[in-house]
Symmetry: C2
DNA sequence: GTAATTAGGTTACATTTTGTTAGTAAGTAT
DNA sequence: ATACTTACTAACAAAATGTAACCTAATTAC
């Protein structure tokens, strides 16, 4: 791997979205705060990876994690931060492009 | 992995962009048709993977491959198809988001 | 009291995908 | 004949992913 003349911010941003599941998880959260199991059911992703991705996204500040300790079993809700929400147009753009251009085999 | 109620077109589109390097390769081609070695130099990607990704993108119809046999050594030029070019706003959107929100550690 | 259930994970391990390095084919230049 | 170039491909190690089983703590069913 060589040096690139790419903007490091852009490179990092692409690395985030260019990771499997990230886009779909963010898309799912666009419809509102959701619990772990709700996201797991909505996407064809396994619990292991969902957990891993949510941890990444939280670390990068795109997703917020809120634990409700009042009820049991514990409920954990994930929601988009301002930074995550700022990706909405991009994600909806991908959705539109897919509708327009992708053909199913 | 479970069933999802996701739109299959969107899922496939995300799968494309959610593959490592795809976004950066398309970004690079936005600046015009380019040769294999030019893309390789512009991005921190190895020849093996660049070759693999370009083959994928060609198969999906986002990229066109043109071989110039007149000169030697052979020149191969890659360019965006209409379908690939249609992703321009999305890719530039990711660039803008990265500039605005990514902080370098 | 014992067993089963639920939510949100984690561990262990097989399979795939990546990254790295070396090598190939066809045609030039020396 | 030897070296050099472009655009790859083969071989193999390292990392990421998919799959299944298990864990903890509280709650309910029997």
């Amino acid at each position: 791997m060589k040096q690139s003349s790419l903007c490091p911010k852009f490179e990092k941003g692409m690395q985030l979205l260019g990771k499997r599941w990230t886009g779909l998880i963010l898309y799912q959260l666009l419809s509102g705060p959701q619990r772990f199991c709700a996201i797991e059911e909505a996407l064809p992703i396994s619990g292991r990876l969902l957990s891993e991705r949510l941890k990444d996204l939280e670390k990068e500040g795109l997703v917020h994690r809120h634990v409700y300790t009042d009820s049991a079993p514990v409920r954990v809700e994930y929601s988009l931060t301002e930074k995550g929400l700022a990706l909405e147009p991009v994600i909806l753009g991908i959705e539109k492009w897919s509708q327009a251009w992708i053909e199913l085999t």
